[in-house]
Symmetry: C2
Subunit: 445 residues, 2 copies
């Protein structure tokens, strides 16, 4: 039984990685190079030797350094559900001409910046390894100026985007609002009466979208009875032990959430808000969340790969963090955010969607959450808004995932990564100033 | 523990469905219409009500009528591995002009034939429901003349192809032979020395390809110690109980197979031959099987969807029957077989590949296996060769899957289905004469 729960917990660590800090081992002597899955030999050979295998049973597939293989291969280990790209021809991204591309890549590699809290300059090129980067894409004025793959990722692979999944839900909710199908000032129960007796019952859709709900959701990993473990066990798609009495599936868990204070006062980054929002999207559209994402975004933007979600035992995709996608398709998502809903000359959704996200959330409410590397920022519609001089905003996921949109520099930057620790505050010091350096460079072009 | 094995067995029934006769319930009062998953409501609603759910835990997802949902949704329930189509534009299939298409569909629907062992005529249209057909595609001279979806399948969905998976392995092996990279007269141990002490040690590659090896592989479902259950448990990707002592993964099982008589004397349809052949393909190409299939076939033929495989805990795709794919992509495979390796004017593999398959296997060896509905036929390179007047040959999978190639009528026919019983001999009487009727009709065009 104990063994089962070990497996269940680690599995949950995968589907709930925003929360698995306690499970990750420190980097120690691990560098980006010596932890590269190609060098580690994970799953190489037919069959791979037992010590080269990464399995569900071993329970450590999301521990570093195995993490660096797993982020590209979640479907090999767990049930997943497809976000179809449809059947048509993908719309290729535009690239700067070949000779310019080589130049721009070399010039960006050579850019230097000063990491936060440091007085030592670092090159862009060095920052890639420092941040255990698996994929990096930079678009300027709609054209690719930089593209780089490493570790487990190739241009034909898919990478876990972790909590960037949340931003897809925020986008869909904003689209429904712009189309007049969803009212963000309405209480959640207008859409989900089944949540009447929960903390969400008297929250507004907007409070859920901006994570200013006041909900009991304890993420103390040292306490085996903490809510996070109950949520993890609920979402685990594998068969539960006979003695299991808890909720089955994410949505079943949401029915149990209790209120803790007054909604709308403070930002609190709690994944369960996203799963409520995805449920609302499902209810309004009459589609399961992954189908809505396919219909409303993935098929329309010319995606070149289908994406996928991890899924619970009730067939609910994990909207809080379970999506995997290709690097360039995330670049397409970024272009839609930069260009206010237009890609390849085609409007995919109303400009209002991005206007709403970009304006940011309640900055006073955000201060209380104490994000040192994001001082002065805010959170709106499942996006992080920097409120910096360039008006940048971002989707962010643990272990270093980002889609960073800089409207002033007309830049979209996508990074996929497998940093040893699930703490973006450790990665931001060598990331945010680096992104600004690229933005400054592109503004001279 | 008992409970675990129940789950393990049923799960294995999924990945080894060629063998799950004993598990399937009879059709009883079930018709194609009342068992249609859309009418049953499986997995509808967010979340679906408990009695509308199909789960791993319940252990019955491959029982009829749930089977009819599961065949289109295996990845939602189990770990799977992608056969990438690549990133380019798919090559659309050619269709007869729109007005002709409506006519040809109506004409084919109205065709009549006499089922084997019957004196009652049946229409083609009626045969679709009789055989619990989920998808039907007919191509004539390279153009689609008939296309039909029902049950769980849509043109954007993927369906379990069961033992038709084997035929992909046979094709790849024939390609390697034609390219001079694989010698089918050589002993298996030339490629897989690790099999030296097994039944396969002194078999030739050809004997494996044509399933004329003499191997101990007991498929008696009533005996819980039968080999089939050991193989099933080995291939089950879910964590094994602590007390489990058996092989882990399909390939680990293959190391234990003992000989039973002399190779080359009789045809014996035993799935383990295919997994040996896929292992040989992996060894020769230096790729995992699903990667080789992607590189050698799926990317080259203009596939419009990636396909996927169920996978064991060692990351080995189940080559014996674990693939799911789209209807039209199977049509592309059929066109390559009809046109000796050419599709859309492009040669994908040498003509020799199809010449070898089409000539058929040892008909005397085949007789001994006693396939009543395939009298006079043979088995070669994981294909069924009918040796009928039209020279037809086919990939076949349990529950009614087929790619049927008729070179004389220049016809390719693909059927995906979810028949209540895993016994193609029950489906052939209303299928093979129906296919011949369509071929006869097309030859008049």
């Amino acid at each position: 039984m104990r063994n089962y729960f070990t497996i269940a917990f680690f599995c949950s660590a995968l589907v709930l990685c925003a929360y698995c800090m306690a499970l990750a081992e420190g980097p120690g002597e691990w560098t980006a190079e010596n932890s590269d899955p190609r060098n580690m030999g994970w799953m190489q050979g037919v069959p791979p030797s037992p010590d080269a295998r990464i399995t569900i049973a071993a329970g450590d597939f999301f521990n570093f350094p195995k993490l660096r293989w797993t982020v590209c291969n979640i479907r090999d280990l767990l049930p997943t559900i497809e976000v179809s790209r449809g059947l048509g021809a993908p719309v290729p991204l535009d690239y700067v001409p070949h000779h310019e591309f080589a130049d721009s890549r070399a010039e960006i590699d050579a850019l230097t910046f000063t990491p936060m809290g440091s007085d030592q300059e670092m090159t862009w090129k060095a920052s890639l390894a420092t941040n255990y980067t698996d994929g990096m894409l930079v678009l300027h004025k709609g054209r690719v100026v930089y593209e780089w793959y490493s570790g487990c990722l190739t241009e034909q692979g898919k990478h876990a985007i972790m909590s960037m999944t949340k931003s897809t839900v925020g986008m869909l909710a904003e689209i429904l609002i712009a189309e007049g199908r969803l009212d963000d000032t309405a209480p959640v129960i207008d859409y989900l009466p089944e949540l009447a007796k929960t903390a969400f019952g008297n929250a507004t859709v907007r409070q859920v979208m901006d994570m200013t709900t006041a909900v009991v959701f304890d993420e103390n990993y040292d306490d085996p009875k903490a809510d996070i473990w109950i949520y993890s066990a609920a979402g685990n798609p594998l068969p539960k032990p006979k003695s299991y009495q808890g909720p089955v599936g994410y949505l079943d868990y949401l029915l149990t959430v209790k209120q803790d204070g007054k909604h709308g006062k403070a930002f609190g980054y709690k994944t369960i808000n996203t799963d409520v929002l995805a449920w609302i999207v499902a209810r309004v559209t009459g589609m399961r969340y992954h189908e809505a994402l396919s219909e409303m975004l993935w098929r329309r933007m010319g995606a070149e790969q289908s994406a996928y979600f991890s899924v619970d035992a009730a067939g609910t995709p994990f909207a809080g963090g379970g999506m995997s996608a290709g690097l360039r398709d995330l670049g397409r998502m970024g272009l839609l955010l930069l260009n206010e809903g237009v890609i390849n000359g085609k409007r995919v959704f109303p400009a209002k969607v991005v206007e709403s996200i970009r304006q940011g959330g309640d900055r006073d409410a955000f201060v209380k959450a104490g994000y040192d590397t994001l001082e002065g920022g805010s959170y709106r519609s499942m996006f992080w808004v920097l409120h910096n001089k360039n008006g940048a905003f971002a989707a962010r996921g643990v272990y270093g995932q980002t889609i960073y949109v800089d409207p002033t520099a007309e830049m979209v930057l996508v990074r996929l990564a497998s940093y040893p620790k699930p703490k973006n505050a450790l990665i931001d010091p060598t990331s945010l100033p680096a992104y600004q350096a690229v933005a400054d460079y592109l503004m001279t072009k």
